[in-house]
């Protein structure tokens, strides 16, 4: 194949853009938060009596008087970007403003701000403006360039790989860097057990390297997301509170970028549900009414003749059963609900977090609780009471 054709094929490919829409909204909000943080930092740097540490000669910091306007522009652009309003302007200008802030003084640098600036630029080239936004949803704009999504994914792994490799030095491996940055209350605790710091240091390096690779593995991806979120939340809770806002910004940013590793294209599925239960039928009806295209085929458990799959291994009185049309894979409980959500518009997609490892323990427990009481709930809501008594054992 000619190089030109291959380039055209690779860089003409498009993927579902719903995760890009969410990333734009969440990272826009992240930029608002970081804008307020930058205000405080710049106020201290520019305060009378404080010296400046020039980084590049041409980057002139705003004056203290102009700072509120500088931050107002930042936050205004971030809000516009989050809402998808004039994204082709707000994205590049916001990215440039944050990048410029990194350069006005050595004291304004932050890895998180650098990453935010890059990601906003990448989201702009990812055509995030074409997704549902304040400018109005474009029904044809269901896809975004695959290469731009790939760049966001690579950026995540690059941050983790270099974050890990740069920590391979005596100061970090000794636990000293961690100790110096821990919250005082934790310092007191681990200070008595220095080996804990050694283990934490080595584990964080290994974990970052693992995350960089595991996010690309279909087998490990969901576990990597749960572990990655727990890792970042752990960092926020254990490091100095003076860094908390920046660490929260970083946690939100990385968690949002995790979304890019997943397939968000709706799939044709068949769902079997207890149609003798009023609330069950109402919930399934809610999904059917909101799906953008007929991705979901719903079959009631009492319509045995209509069954298209072997359901004998599952108790349809205990849980809905979902079968993927293409792969033939089965899912029950909250995992089935998460798969159903894929057929819904973009605003409902965060509900899919319920199927992630760790989260699924909670969501399955809630699901089980509701499933057991579905008849009572149906009755209280004035919906049809179940005609069939709830089954306790497995279907024979």
């Amino acid at each position: 194949m000619q190089l030109g054709m291959r380039v055209a094929e690779l860089f003409g490919r498009r993927v579902d853009g719903r995760a890009i829409a969410w990333a734009r909204a969440l990272i826009g909000v992240d930029c608002v938060l970081r804008g307020f943080e930058a205000w405080g930092i710049l106020e201290r740097v520019l305060a009378p009596g404080h010296l400046r540490l020039s980084y590049v000669s041409w980057a002139i910091a705003p004056s203290l008087d102009a700072l509120p306007l500088y931050i107002a522009v930042w936050i205004g652009l971030a809000l516009a970007f989050a809402g998808g309003w004039l994204t082709l302007v707000s994205g590049p200008v916001l990215s440039a403003l944050m990048g410029y802030t990194l350069l006005v003084d050595q004291q304004t640098y932050s890895n998180h701000l650098y990453l935010l600036s890059l990601v906003v630029a990448l989201l702009t080239v990812a055509e995030s403006h074409r997704r549902p936004s304040l400018e109005g949803a474009d029904p044809d704009a269901t896809t975004v360039p695959a290469w731009s999504v790939m760049l966001l994914k690579l950026q995540v792994s690059i941050v983790y790989i270099f974050g890990a490799v740069s920590k391979i030095n005596f100061a970090f491996l000794s636990g000293a860097v961690l100790y110096l940055n821990l919250r005082p209350s934790l310092k007191g605790m681990v200070g008595h057990f220095p080996p804990v710091l050694l283990v934490m240091a080595a584990a964080s390096i290994l974990l970052e390297l693992w995350l960089a690779a595991a996010l690309w593995s279909p087998r490990w991806r969901t576990r990597a997301v749960s572990i990655g979120i727990a890792f970042h939340v752990g960092i926020v809770l254990s490091l100095r509170t003076s860094e908390s806002v920046q660490l929260i910004v970083f946690t939100t940013l990385m968690s949002t970028l995790y979304l890019q590793f997943f397939s968000h294209t709706p799939r044709h599925v068949t769902v079997y549900y207890d149609d003798s239960c009023g609330v069950c039928a109402r919930v399934i009806g809610w999904f059917l009414a909101r799906q953008r295209q007929p991705w979901i085929a719903a079959i009631g458990s009492t319509s045995g003749a209509a069954f298209q799959h072997d359901t004998s291994k599952f108790d349809l009185q205990q849980s809905i059963l979902l079968v993927d049309y293409e792969s033939g894979e089965y899912a029950t409980g909250s995992r089935a609900f998460a798969a159903l959500v894929k057929a819904l518009p973009v605003v409902y997609q965060p509900l899919r977090i319920a199927a992630l490892p760790g989260f699924v323990l909670v969501s399955d427990a809630v699901y089980g609780l509701i499933a057991k009481r579905r008849h009572e709930i149906s009755s209280r809501l004035g919906l049809d009471r179940c005609a069939v008594a709830p089954s306790i054992g497995q279907r024979s």
Partner: protein, 125 residues
């Protein structure tokens, strides 16, 4: 949540594919080259994704009075948001220390990372 890679329907090849390929290659190259170069420097260094990657102590400044006694200089009194990876040029900073410590005849700088010590005389002007 599905874990499979996207398999969205393909459209006609984008006419700007070459621009996209160039941007892609430039971005990835920069994101590999810059952090790799930064690994050769002290940790943490900027633009290298070196978060909490090492211990980098700032130089220690001491004012030396006319009677030979010394007084430590608190850098936080001079800078609003000092970071460990900041470089403070003594030639720029010493005049400010001398200005605030009128009884100082010199400023001693101990470079913590190298262990070297330098002394800068305060100008009488």
């Amino acid at each position: 949540m599905d874990t499979r890679d996207d398999a969205a329907p393909r459209r006609r090849p984008h006419p700007r594919a070459w621009w996209a390929a160039g941007l892609f290659a430039a971005f990835v190259s920069a994101q590999l080259a810059i952090p790799t170069l930064m690994l050769a420097g002290p940790r943490p260094s900027r633009f290298g994704w070196q978060m909490y990657a090492g211990f980098r102590a700032l130089d220690v400044y001491t004012a030396v009075r006319h009677d030979g006694s010394t007084a430590p200089i608190d850098l936080r009194a001079f800078f609003g948001n000092l970071r460990a990876d900041a470089y403070i040029a003594p030639a720029m900073f010493v005049p400010h220390v001398c200005g605030r410590h009128s009884d100082a005849r010199a400023v001693r700088v101990r470079h913590v990372m190298s262990g070297d010590t330098e002394e800068y005389t305060c100008s009488s002007e």
